[in-house]
Subunit: 211 residues, 2 copies
């Protein structure tokens, strides 16, 4: 144990351990980096099985990020975890409307969750939108409705809310659909997982592909 | 699935499911709420086995919080996840020094991690200190050294870094020691888990015990 080991070195060794423990399992390029980073952030190898990717989801997500996408989160925790410097370097930004006063007021007046209203407001934003939902199934449910209504066409939906009520069903709505998605099937997920997936895309672009 | 179900109702039903699935397992009062909230935030029942509590750790942590403790985190994600309104209502606050410029400068000059330096700076703060470490094993290692040197005497150490390098060892240093602790043994943990444990103590105080 060495207190002088730097985070970059720790991370490199961590990924080597993850690779070794995944053994003979293989993933498509791009997908592999996402799966490993989620395992890195959770120490939970279940994500090697849970994570589902629509065709070319990683490619489409990265294309949106290089086009200056807005990443919409449903918690300030996910917002805090996203590498916003790297995102800004690509011309993008990350937002969370959960603490927005107008959202809170409207949610109260209508008797719906703030997560629901925050998705409606986010859907009106300009430019490519990447949704990173790590907490609220009601956000994911409302987002799916908005897509079906034609009100929004996300470049990518990262659907990884965690929990026991409505969560599994909210995620299943996207599986096999036309909207590009990265979904953690089942109960698991979280704001940390949502941020890790966004960062896995950013790191591929900035550290490997030279954007 | 009901988009109008409010978060408080979802949470209540979630805890009922967690209680049911824990089956015959029992935990001491106070501990039970912490274990269940961590499972609620991760959907990972491993925490029913991983979490280790020193004698009266929950009681001591709550006593510190009612005395206006400063909660020191090692990530802005954990900071974002803590219920800061409730903490402020008890006269406390939460801080993360990882993005502090003086910390960054000193870490670079000395060739150590920012996590290490942030613990040294936090150790000098006044009043009861609760450390909530969800990410950096080097933070936990340096904190243990500072305790051994007599430089700090935390009211509670929440030691739940996640990962594959140095993490298990950093947590084991505290097990059986004199400093009150809540430790997630093994590789698992995270900023979300650290925040959930702090919140579990706050909710006990504010919602149940009327502080």
């Amino acid at each position: 144990m060495n207190g002088r080991m730097q985070p970059a070195e720790i991370e490199k060794r961590s990924f080597a351990i993850i690779t070794k423990e995944l053994g003979a399992r293989t993933f498509p390029a791009g997908v592999e980096e996402v799966v490993k980073r989620v395992i890195h952030t959770s120490a939970d190898f279940d994500y090697a099985d849970n994570l589902c990717f629509s065709p070319a989801a990683v490619k489409k997500g990265k294309a949106a990020l290089t086009a200056g996408a807005t990443v919409v989160t449903d918690t300030n925790m996910a917002l805090a975890g996203i590498n916003k410097g790297m995102l800004a370097g690509l011309g993008g930004r990350a937002v969370c409307l959960m603490a927005d006063e107008a959202v809170a007021r409207e949610a109260k007046a209508r008797g719906v969750t703030r997560a629901t209203v925050s998705m409606e407001h986010a859907a009106r934003m300009e430019g490519p939108l990447v949704f990173a939902i790590g907490n609220a199934p009601t956000a994911l449910i409302r987002l799916h409705e908005l897509i079906e209504e034609g009100a929004v066409s996300p470049a990518l939906v990262i659907g990884v809310p965690v929990g026991f009520v409505n969560v599994v069903e909210s995620k299943e709505r996207f599986i096999g659909g036309d909207t590009p998605y990265i979904i953690a099937r089942g109960r698991k997920g979280g704001s940390n997982v949502a941020a890790a997936i966004v960062n896995a895309l950013l790191y591929q672009l900035v550290e490997r592909e030279g954007f």
